[in-house]
Symmetry: D2
Subunit: 354 residues, 4 copies
């Protein structure tokens, strides 16, 4: 069933396979009258782009977005914004090794079981290439929410964690290194570990954290559409994500209520914000912060034994250029999905009042 749309009011629908003609999407419900900064959209795309640094895949995809509609003389008109990103690589590769075998921990097997047919080239629709469209829409959502600041960053690569309290982090450091960890020393360790892993033909997982600042109070819709529930869904919908927690998260389960409760300041803010900026599913104006767990990339530059559609054992090895660790490129994707969620609730909230 149709599952390629996200959002109710600020609504993104995407299309496209990794090695088809193009990927793209439609943003429906973007308010009229917004003067778009196209450069900042392309900038977010460039943060996600392959080949941007030595520790990510070296594939060549320029990822230039073309807008087809919804913008007139640089201003949104309230009509749907159609866009496409042409696939540079669409005809070049040899995918016979995938055509005849299911890659372990990929979506090859399940797509075949579900649809009975699949575009096997580069993972087809299950490729993370699709997230470029999310970045385009998220960059526009950020412009709808010009007062807010979305700060995603890498907080762990494998067992190497950033050990800083939230208030100690200087988010202007994030983009200064290829790992996107806002601490030069930790970033250097992560970078050298990623290189080591790549040298082994292996991959490793990691964690992307995000802090959203200046969120208006009152966003979020009880009961099922709690703000953090939709944020969680948004993050879990990103390729390779295995977990989501916000505020005190899993650690908070170990605490007692007397330590965990956030006591109020007289202006309605709280002293501790273990709630993570959301109470009862509704934003309270404090920073929203959360963590997103990414598994190690499944495509290895090592020989693996697997099966083909006939159920026979076959050997395979990753070809081409793949990411040894996905989190550096996932940072703008996490921000984009967060911006989509908040923009949607921001507009929903206007509809709650007479």
């Amino acid at each position: 069933m149709a599952g390629n749309s996200f959002g109710k009011i600020f609504k993104l629908t995407t299309f496209g396979e990794s090695h088809g003609v193009a990927i793209g999407g439609i943003i429906d419900g973007c308010p009229a009258g917004l003067k778009l900064d196209l450069e900042s959209i392309q900038n977010d795309l460039d943060r996600r782009r392959p080949g941007q640094s030595a520790i990510v895949t070296q594939r060549k995809e320029p990822d230039t977005v073309e807008f087809y509609s919804g913008i007139f003389e640089g201003v949104t008109t309230g009509t749907p914004i159609g866009f496409a990103i042409k696939n540079a690589n669409q005809k070049s590769k040899d995918y016979s090794h995938i055509k005849d075998a299911y890659r372990p921990s990929h979506a090859d097997y399940t797509y075949d079981e579900k649809y009975g047919v699949r575009d096997y080239r580069g993972g087809g629709r299950s490729s993370a290439r699709e997230t470029a469209c999310r970045v385009v829409a998220g960059a526009i959502a950020k412009q709808v929410l010009s007062d807010l600041k979305f700060n995603a960053y890498v907080s762990a690569v494998g067992e190497i964690e950033l050990h800083k309290k939230l208030h100690e982090i200087d988010f202007s450091e994030t983009e200064k290194n290829p790992v996107r960890c806002p601490d030069a020393e930790t970033a250097a360790k992560m970078e050298s570990f990623i290189k080591e892993v790549r040298g082994d033909g292996d991959t490793v997982g990691g964690v992307v954290s995000c802090v959203i600042k200046n969120v208006p109070k009152g966003l979020g819709e009880p009961v099922f559409d709690k703000l953090h529930a939709e944020l969680g869904k948004a993050m879990l919908s990103i390729n390779a994500v295995k977990g989501f927690e916000y505020g005190s998260g899993f650690e908070g389960t170990k605490m007692r209520g007397s330590d965990h409760n956030d006591h109020f300041n007289t202006d309605g803010s709280t002293k501790t914000n273990l709630s993570g900026g959301i109470q009862g599913g509704i934003s309270n104006g404090m920073d929203i912060y959360f963590k997103v767990a990414f598994k190690p990339v499944a495509t290895l530059m090592q020989k693996q034994t697997t099966i083909n559609a006939a159920g026979e054992e076959v050997e395979m090895q990753g070809k081409g250029r793949h990411d040894p660790c996905v989190v550096p490129r996932a940072v703008p994707i996490v921000e984009a999905m967060a911006a989509l969620v908040i923009a949607d609730y921001f507009l929903q909230n206007k509809a709650s009042k007479i």
Copy 2:
């Protein structure tokens, strides 16, 4: 904006405040011709009910569900199933202490900011009482999915964790103790810890895990509506939940791809199932398993300083009978939400084929 519905095809919409006339809901899209086992529905409600054991709230709510429609001579007709659960407590209590103050880490403040008005009695709509409606619908969803088995259980209370591998767990043990931990020894420790915490007028968090067995292959809809994304949203929408992970979860981020990849058996099953039964957002027929983090209950039987709507500091103390730890009663809620998600995707999947 309307946010009280869950599901696209098997769709639950709920209503009701903690101390209003009744809570209830409408299940729209339940297939026709299902002979309903009403006893098993009430049984799940009883597993969630207050007063069921010494370690949960001692409030008296019989929680008897009345069905108004959609069932004829014991069989579903395909028309919407309306139901209600009357509130036994609706007039009895004194809520002046809440009326005039915002309880810390509750939804009082955010509801007021969002709506400008709230039913303060017992938390109103933000009360976990609403989850009884989810249990009703989930119990029916389980019957739609009669081949599947939903096994939720308590895997942690505070720092006390169940240390068993999934295959070592005997799920028939879960209901044999009031904590709902499928290991008598660990359960006893948890129980005594909950009592200790309660004795302090305090509360504690915990973790509910869930294993779903016999899931058909092919459920889940890429891209945004991945099966685990919707499961995550479902769990995060439950009161007090702070995190969700499935398969290898946050631990998996520390692994290398060569250890993390699930290698195939020749029948399409995998040897390790770190994927948690879902690949590329689509079920692969293996067990789906996940964890849900619950924060400590915010209502304490201790004096706390807080603020009122005028921004003045006031003192307050929890009244009445509250849960010292929510996870034992959350077990059937987690199962219910899981069943709602799977039933919806099960029906969606039928629509993917000509």
Copy 3:
């Protein structure tokens, strides 16, 4: 699939069969802070109620609505409004004549084909009794839109038509006669014709027209969700409706553009309003007007030959008390559906702006 909800933001979901325990619904998305006039809700229900005059069905249904949630101290809280109307007649009747036969031009046959099971008592879910829930929700929608005026009225019964231009109609006349035709003389003819038809054990169709005044400019969402498209769907979803036209309607197809175009006054209003208050799917602030065609009631007090589920010919005759003509009671239903549509678009429109 779930089809018992209407609206995106101001959203009604209904349940209930004609002879089940109760009918009812949930209004999700009603803005907070609205002081509800419960009397005017019951008043609209009474306008739809059986037994209100000599020319409608003489069934006894008090149709008293009970509210379960979403209203606190008389004011909406922004949470879902659950309500029910108990069925007075649920156990009394003998339906063996319907159980064993498909009534011509009823939904008996199609429900059986679709669901394989049906609640045959009084038509079950296909009974127009369900529209009482629409009237409840519509009466609340009217209060959201307190500046607007919804004027539905009977403009034709069989071949007897009201021959008045819109500006000649005095809407205060509508409720002064049992037919709800705002012209005493025409109403008298219609009334006597309905009595004649009833005397024959027969039924007759008719037309309900509606004029909505004071609609704000800018409501309606191109492309698929044009304001008149949703109004049309709303009306066509009412039992027995066979057609909908707005503005110049079918007559307008015969005109030339030079006669049909609405020329502007300098304040943006138009001189002729053949557009019916909607241009390009968006309201222009002029009166919205439309017509709804109702077929003759299918239940006759005459013997008819029909078939049973085995495909055998059987004879049947309507029992009990039925409407000889549905339009007088349809007037508040048309208003209710119009109010639901406009309220939804009114709230949607708030979300179109930053």
Copy 4:
């Protein structure tokens, strides 16, 4: 708010302005495994295309559809089908006369009131050019429903009506004349009348009728999503449509129930089918037939007085090449929307069963 999607399971979302870079759309939910006949898609586009005959607009738009995704080796993969149609005319014209004035009975004024900004070139989003995307999606929907036959045709142009009973019509005649009226003699009259009207610099309205054959029983979802309600919405969403009726329609309101009721044959079919193939909102397997009213085109080749955004009176005259009567080109659009509705319900219906 987002209003550019149609359908729940077979779901079309469109984008594009008349004179932007391209129009296009995404079809989400098309079942996998369908071998697409691309020629028949282009054929339907050609039936809608400008310049196809002497009685339609002579604009030059090749309207070639490019598919970007969702099709692999000629077969649908179950993933979203993205497509675009480039606008040939995007830069050529002078629109200063529209920029500074609101065309009567167009959407210029309401778009400005709603959005505060508009792409005035060729009507922008309100242009009927957008319907080309519907035709693409509808042509695919027809292939999902390969057993069904959608027969739309022109049944009236101005006061010239086709006087044939449904069973007398030979649908193979429809495409044999430029009017698309399946009766050579009536078509000739219509054609000459359209030419006369065009000679006057004027336009005229008309009616498109449609008969759908071989519809499976059981399609349609009570209560709000009745099959004919959704069909009505679909038709009313087409530019210039003012009315919709199905089965006996407005004429049926004049009948008595004893004449109007459709009596059953023993196989469940009916003798008269005044119900129009739908009973209680659900298809009964008989032909579905309905009529759609199109107003005269608003753009005239005559001088008209109108106003500008400042509220000043100005004179304007249509430029370029416009249709004197829209119904010949509307025939494939009506079929397309009908196919979209039926395909969606066809897939929904699969989800109603366990």
